[in-house]
């Protein structure tokens, strides 16, 4: 979670009032992490830039809908960006085949990365490593490849009900591990 949660909420209120400077401040603060997320999901190319742009235009239009009781601003921004990225992935078609192909390739290398949050990295890695392999796999297919539970079932050959259980328990367990 961002260390600037309270300030972020105030900025979103400013955006809701039509303050473009507040939108720019939010962008400066959060766009590097969102862009990294979109690059990882969509790969290099114009898609990540387009979705980043669309996401912040969305923030401009929907700022009044933000509710602090439903999560921090950073989580809200990630939800908006991922939702648009998933739509883009689904519009590409033949996604399951592309997922299989990508799994056989080396991971993308981010351009000009800034130093990662080492503490968060270690904590997340430890938490993911503690999950059962099947749960972790289901979460990764949903998170990075934008697969629905039905598509994960098709991809892995596991029954849909099993996939649903893995997604649910996996995210709950991850939440517990990250909070612990």
């Amino acid at each position: 979670m961002s260390a600037h949660g309270g300030e972020d909420s105030v900025l979103v209120q400013g955006v809701a009032r039509g303050e473009s400077s507040a939108l720019e401040a939010l962008y400066r603060r959060h766009s590097p992490r969102l862009y990294a997320l979109l690059l990882r999901m969509l790969g290099q190319g114009a898609d990540a830039e387009e979705i980043l742009q669309e996401s912040f235009v969305d923030v401009w239009k929907r700022a009044s809908e933000y509710r602090p009781t439903r999560g921090a601003v950073e989580a809200w921004l990630i939800t908006i960006a991922r939702s648009r990225a998933i739509d883009r992935l689904r519009s590409r078609g033949a996604r399951l085949r592309l997922v299989r192909e990508r799994e056989q390739q080396a991971p993308d290398v981010a351009v000009t990365p800034e130093p990662p949050d080492v503490h968060a990295h270690t904590r997340l890695r430890r938490a993911l490593d503690a999950l059962p392999v099947e749960q972790r796999r289901a979460l990764e297919l949903a998170y990075w490849d934008g697969l629905s539970q039905r598509e994960i079932s098709e991809q892995t050959g596991d029954p849909l009900g099993t996939v649903k259980t893995r997604v649910r328990l996996g995210l709950q367990r991850l939440a517990d591990l990250l909070a612990g």
Partner: protein
């Protein structure tokens, strides 16, 4: 779940993780969103969504941030200048000259000072006077700062807001001179206005909410070069009912690792309404 059939409370809770991940089919996701739109009476649904969304956000926490090309912001700025106004914009705003922000900042501070004087919080008055000069300089420099202080003022004058003065505790070391007030509103907001919280490479100040049980950690006090602070207590922790008191402790860098405060230096009790 049937396609676009209404989602029950139980079904929402069963699917909230997949919803937060974006792993539902479009019709299922629409049904979940529709349930959420009327979920003002379902705090359990909101809490579950918050937990799921923040866990989903944490999955991106190990990515190395990447600066997007400069053209992206330029494109956003062009889009929003041509876009319809945000739904909640209260009125059309014309460009505001910089000096207006200076005047607004001065007016804001006068109001804060007047309010605190009215409250007869003499110890806070000296703090507010000292803060005035510093705040005026800050507000002239940064519009973001102005937005934050405007927000604090709105909270200060909002009906129902209580001003809780934080009292220095005996355990505070001589060099731990931080002081401040908490603005509390029962709708679930608590904002610390503090000063003399200097950045320390070895220590952090941590916020705590006190009810009947043990204190609950509510976030770190962000450091600033001038030691002045405007920061919210974590809002999800305020949804659990009216606190009895607020406190600030001094902790090792990164905050308490035991779930308990180390050295409590400031405490303020929330009086009855």
């Amino acid at each position: 779940m049937l396609a676009e059939a209404p989602v029950t409370h139980t079904e929402f809770l069963e699917q909230v993780e997949a919803y937060a991940l974006g792993a539902l089919e479009p019709d299922q996701a629409r049904a979940m969103a529709a349930h959420l739109a009327e979920a003002g009476t379902h705090p359990e649904c909101e809490a579950a969504l918050r937990r799921a969304q923040e866990t989903v956000a944490a999955l991106a926490s190990d990515l190395s941030p990447v600066q997007p090309p400069a053209g992206v912001w330029q494109a956003i700025a062009s889009s929003v200048s041509a876009a319809p106004e945000p739904a909640a914009r209260e009125r059309r705003r014309r460009p505001v000259p910089g000096w207006v922000y200076g005047l607004a900042a001065a007016a804001l501070l006068l109001l804060v000072l007047g309010f605190l004087r009215y409250q007869a919080v003499s110890s806070s008055e000296a703090m507010a006077k000292a803060a005035a000069a510093q705040c005026a300089r800050e507000l002239a420099d940064a519009h973001v700062d102005l937005l934050r202080k405007e927000d604090a003022l709105k909270l200060l004058v909002e009906p129902g807001t209580q001003v809780v003065s934080l009292a220095r505790q005996a355990a505070a070391a001589p060099n731990q001179t931080g002081t401040g007030v908490v603005l509390y509103h029962p709708r679930g907001r608590a904002l610390l206005i503090g000063q003399r919280f200097p950045a320390d490479p070895t220590r952090d100040y941590e916020l705590w909410i006190i009810r009947d049980g043990p204190p609950v950690a509510a976030g770190l006090v962000p450091s600033s070069p001038d030691g002045q602070v405007l920061t919210d207590f974590r809002p999800e922790l305020l949804a659990g009912g009216r606190p009895a008191a607020f406190a600030i402790s001094v902790e090792k860098k990164g905050g308490s690792t035991t779930g308990k405060p180390d050295t409590v230096i400031l405490v303020g009790a929330l009086g009855p309404r």
